[in-house]
């Protein structure tokens, strides 16, 4: 989408759509950052604020969907515009889900903060930071329309998965040691799982960026058999 549309109103609509997606992305990122801070700083107030903040994200999902429908109905977009609009429709679903995962983290934080801390967090904040950076880079790749950067984001998902496995194993030892740890350990395990899911959604976003830029569908690489062709 290098050059501008001859029709300026159409150009405006596309630009507005793009801005809205970026704004939603920023809000989602903020939600994840705050939910992690609420966890590490045991800040229940911040957790509650973040849960309430999710309504804004949900509203944006609805607004962006509406904008996409409007452009589809009125402009019949093709080529890169068509790829952008169809991806926008899918992208907001992933973004909204990430927002929900931020809410889920905050809910678990609220429960954890009723109890004394189980252990000092070592891997979890590192995983959280890595996940949040992955999300950030996926959104950056979207802004820049950079397929190479998107590919690099996708490659990082294995690291996130590895963190999850490691954290899960460690928490298991706590649970085996003392059944009274189970309540807190399962909450922490859930949080690690939510973060792992955030990584998956960030991967989806990056895959959409590649499709938008290159027109090439790289999902489920080599695992579709002949069913899709």
């Amino acid at each position: 989408m290098g050059r501008e549309h001859t029709n300026r109103e159409y150009e405006q609509e596309l630009r507005r759509l793009r801005e809205q997606i970026l704004l939603m992305g920023a809000k989602v990122e903020e939600s994840i950052i705050n939910s992690i801070r609420a966890l590490t700083e045991r800040d229940t107030t911040l957790a509650e604020r973040t849960i309430a903040f999710d309504r804004q994200i949900n509203q944006m999902e609805v607004d962006i969907d509406g904008l996409c429908m409007q452009v589809l109905a009125r402009r019949q977009p093709v080529a890169s515009d068509l790829r952008f609009i169809t991806m926008a429709l899918k992208l907001v679903t992933d973004l909204e889900r990430i927002g929900d995962l931020g809410v889920n983290i905050c809910e678990r934080v609220g429960e954890l903060n009723q109890e004394p801390p189980l252990k000092p967090y070592v891997d979890l904040p590192v995983m959280a930071e890595e996940t949040q950076r992955m999300l950030h880079d996926a959104l950056d790749a979207f802004v820049a329309g950079d397929a190479e950067a998107a590919h690099r984001v996708i490659e990082r998902d294995v690291t996130i998965d590895a963190y999850y496995t490691q954290i899960f194993r460690e928490l298991l030892t706590y649970m085996m040691e003392d059944v009274r740890n189970i309540y807190r350990a399962t909450r922490l395990q859930s949080i690690a799982k939510y973060l792992e899911r955030v990584g998956d959604h960030a991967t989806n976003l990056a895959e959409m960026v590649v499709f938008m830029v290159k027109g090439k569908d790289i999902r489920h690489a080599g695992k579709l058999g002949n069913a899709g062709t």
């Binding site: 989408m1 290098g2 050059r3 501008e4 549309h5 001859t6 029709n7 159409y10 019949q76 977009p77 093709v78 080529a79 890169s80 515009d81 068509l82 790829r83 027109g215």
Partner: protein, 258 residues
Amino acid sequence: MKIPIEAENPKITVRGLSVFYGQKKALGPVSMDMPEKRVTALIGPSGCGKSTFLRSLNRMNELIPGCRMEGTVQLDTQPIYGPGIDPVIVRRRIGMVFQRSNPFPKSIFENVAYGLRISGMTSGSEMSGRVERALRQAALWEEVKDRLTESALGMSGGQQQRLCIARALAVEPEVLLMDEPASALDPIATAHIEELINELSDNYTVVIVTHNMQQAARVSDFTAFFYMGDLIEVDKTQVLFTKPSQSKTEDYITGRFG
């Protein structure tokens, strides 16, 4: 660059085709194939050469004074500009439908029968059969079967255009060229024509020029994009409208020109 495309089943094969009006080159050189029993759409801004290209496929350009051309056009394996080839025979095998429906001021029946009469057929059951078949193929029979003797000029615009298609089909051509066949019609009549094009491609090779890109996207199997006398890109319609390979095509179909 994906030019020329070599189709698996070419009905028309164009190689190095250039068309000049006087000193001015209007087109080319263009090379591309039009596959048999498929719809190929030609798109591009006004003056891009798409209509010139279409007209050169059945030797209509040579009717224009000062028009000169180079290159070859083959129907199956036969060069249509070859020595001793009668343009009238070419046009019987390659029919044409124009933008403005142009029925003769005659009855509906006589409009369709016209081509048959000038090729020597006389009235009789064979002629009635051919007229009926052409009208059925043009999806018009049910609407006109009880008023075949009425004037064609009393029909609606959409009906008149389908009558012109029936007239072109009556002489049983192999290829049908259409120059913006629906641009003067309302959306319903346009939908009829588009549905008809789809059905015709079961039996005919169709080449259509259209200004309406959505129409090209709806009716064609292949789309060729022309710009300033050059063929920029030709590909499967689905590919061209989702992921064109040339930035000029991208700019044009997304509306980023001028």
